[in-house]
Amino acid sequence: MKKGALEGLRVLDFTVMAAGPLVTKFLSDHGAEVIKLESTVRPDVIRTFIPFAGGTPGINRSITFAEGNTGKYSFRLNLSHPLGIDIAKRLASCCDIVVENFNPGVMKKHGLTYDDLTKIKSDVIMVSMSGLGQSGPHSRHRNIGLSIQALAGINHFTGWPDRAPIGYSIPYPDVIIPWFALLALMAAVDYRKRTGKGQYIDVTMLETSLHFLAPALLDYTANGREGTRMGNRCAYAAPHGVYRCQGEDRWCAIEVFNDDWPSFCKVLGNPAWSKEPQFATLLGRKENEEELDRLVEDWTAKRSAEEVMSLMQQAGVGAGVVQNAEDIADKDPHFKYRQFYQVVEHPEIGAYECPTASFKLSKTPCELSPAPCLGEHNEYVCTKILGMSDKEFSELVASGVFE
């Protein structure tokens, strides 16, 4: 029996790629039993992504997969096999929650919609995650995080005013949708506890991403105004931006809000230019922002990013090193202190560091277990969860349904 805040919950996990599995990873890390359905015929494509442990490819060696699927049971099942759907339904009957992120229509094709599943388990909670929704004119579009990012306006707002929109190079919506999906899911679990009723949750990457742009949307619907890219600027603070520091491609972000200006100047040693009248007020600094940024960068360029951050923070001014992977994984003492990474032992990969959660529960902290090898838990699930006899299990193996 797994331990944790969600112990006792069992999840049937149809998800693939990144966003869906993140949801079930959080469930798994906090004590839920997650049965991840996988197939050799069509394995989760993440299992084929680099980087691989030690640089050696292998279906169980993908680091990305290992980080995103900790503690889940891998159950190989071919849904296209004649017996496949029945097994899926049997599994569903033992689970509280079903999560999927196929293209809309796929679960219908398999006969595994919410309506179908409630016939098997009337109080099932089903979560369908998709790019644009289960219905609607574009619901069948093929979308992954990068295109959703563009659709959601994130690209439009990211970049320099005088250049093309760039957005993020990772599919940012993939790391927005999981939180909303989990919230809705936990609310449904609580609802079921109180009323005995399950329900269906239809959550999309586009709509959840739009939440993160809500003020800009309201500015349009209420004021008819189109916002745009501002580089690193902030409408109501100056200096505000990312400044080059000593070293190669080393930068520090600094944000000076109105009350911080005297402290900021003090850190710089109250240089003569900082006393000039055009910089005394916020409006003045905004009007002369280019010159201001140049003057600030003259100072930061002579110092390491860490020094800049440290001096600023000591003076109560917001600042942060633009950290790269090495900074985050190895150098940043704060991450270490927070124990953001846990070490997990994997039968094939060996020991690897895995991110935990961005929150810490005091009574039920999460304990990571390794991600599963493909098909590692078929026997366990069949015999211990589905209660099959050894004989039945062997027959099914022979049928090829577990391919």
């Binding site: 809000f257 109105n258 009350d259 916020l282």
Partner: protein, 413 residues
């Protein structure tokens, strides 16, 4: 009744910047009701004093403080953080075209922001700055924390109020605040008259505590005249060697009466006589009586007789009769009685003030003074927080909308 005209106020062309708290609201209100453009400058989010109750329908919302609404009528409101350099620059721009500045900050605060009288006078030599603090700008108590009860205690009033067997008392509704506000307005307008004649502005330094000393009569006078310490005498008031009851029981409350030489008491005795009551009051020659020669026993007899008479009548009965006959006997009223008082209704003292945001019309006390030229009026309800930001910042100072958005986000307005 001579009808009141409504001509343009002599103060209409002036502007006041009002940074007061509860100690000074009434100062600005008086000038605003007199037609001056009084701009209440509140910190972003609203004056702290908006947390003072009671509240409209008991909803403790900053736009529903009845204290705030009562004493900030006719003003405009802008929000401004004068602790920020942006805010100080804006304030100084406003001072250029203002005629008055009212403030209630602790002594030294305006100095620390570079906004003291000297600086403002350099910007605008004719400016009159009125500073209201608990004890004044300088001196051993200037940094003392004030409170209404402190002003009443140290103003000498509490010494006199209450019963000898219990603690001295303060008013159940703060009085030092309106006292300081009204007296500050008085000092301000005196300084203003000087400016009319000479062109000079000046600094008016108001001490809330000192404003209460008038109300301590007869305490300081007894000390300076007869070296006597006057204390609490309960339901009576000292008058030289006598203790007079100012109020007497009647059927449904109390009425105020005291013995007074002449016609007023003679007519009262006549009235009492019509009901077969008189006693010791009837026996006195009210034309000749010399209060200095009356003793306490006599006073007590008179008072007992009056009370015996009044106990047969309600406040309303007595007052109606008294008005007909011109006697000096008045009911002890509460606010309900005041609202029903014929005298106030006849003079149209109560004013309806529209509150569109409450979807209501609220009844307020009207101006304290009626004038032939009619320019002392409640002109509109107290302003909402920053209600006139656009009018002033955009319309007058020429800020653009986007600049105002920046200033708002930066906590300047």
């Amino acid at each position: 009744m001579i009808p009141e005209k409504k001509t343009e106020s002599p103060l209409a062309s002036y502007r006041a910047l009002d940074l007061t708290d509860e100690n000074g609201f009434l100062c600005g209100k008086i000038f605003a009701d007199l037609g001056m453009d009084v701009i209440k400058i509140e910190k972003p989010g609203g004056d702290a004093a908006r947390r003072l109750g009671p509240f409209y329908h008991d909803i403790p919302d900053p736009e529903k403080s009845l204290y705030w609404l009562a004493y900030n009528t006719s003003k405009r409101s802008i929000t401004l953080n004068i602790e920020s350099p942006d805010g100080q620059e804006i304030f100084k721009r406003l001072v250029k075209t203002a005629h008055f500045v009212f403030e209630c900050f602790p002594p030294g605060y305006m100095d620390s922001l570079g906004l003291d009288y000297q600086v403002l006078a350099e910007i605008n030599p004719g400016i009159i700055m009125t500073s209201i603090t608990p004890f004044g700008q300088m001196g051993p108590y200037s940094n003392y924390k004030g409170a209404d009860i402190v002003a009443l205690a140290m103003g000498g009033l509490m010494q006199l109020c209450g019963y000898p067997d219990r603690a001295p008392l303060r008013w159940g509704l703060e009085q030092s605040w309106p006292q300081a506000g009204a007296q500050a307005a008085m000092g301000t307008i005196i300084a203003h008259y000087h400016r009319l004649v000479s062109g000079e502005g000046q600094h008016v330094d108001v001490s809330v505590r000192d404003c209460m000393i008038w109300s301590a009569y007869p305490s300081p006078q007894n000390w300076s005249m007869v070296k006597k310490i006057v204390g609490r005498t309960g339901f009576t008031a000292p008058r030289g060697h006598l203790n007079l009851r100012l109020n007497h029981r009647c059927k449904d409350g109390y009425v105020a009466w005291m013995p007074w030489r002449g016609e007023v008491t003679k007519k009262l005795v006549e009235y009492m006589g019509e009901e077969g009551v008189g006693g010791s009051l009837r026996e006195t020659d009210w034309d000749q009586v010399n209060m200095e020669e009356v003793n306490q026993e006599q006073i007590d007899r008179w008072q007992d007789d009056i009370e015996r008479f009044c106990l047969n009548h309600t406040k309303a009965e007595l007052h109606n009769e008294v008005m007909k006959r011109g006697l000096m006997l008045w009911p002890m009223n509460d606010v309900k009685d005041l609202r029903e008082m014929s005298q106030l209704l006849a003079r149209h003292f109560w004013v309806d003030v529209e509150h569109p945001e409450l979807n209501d019309t609220v009844i307020y006390p009207g101006p304290p003074v009626k004038t032939g030229e009619g320019y002392w009026q409640i002109r509109r309800r107290a302003p909402l927080i920053g209600e006139h930001n656009e009018e002033v910042y955009k319309g007058e100072l020429g800020f653009s909308e986007s600049q105002l958005v920046v200033l708002r986000q930066a906590g300047v307005i």
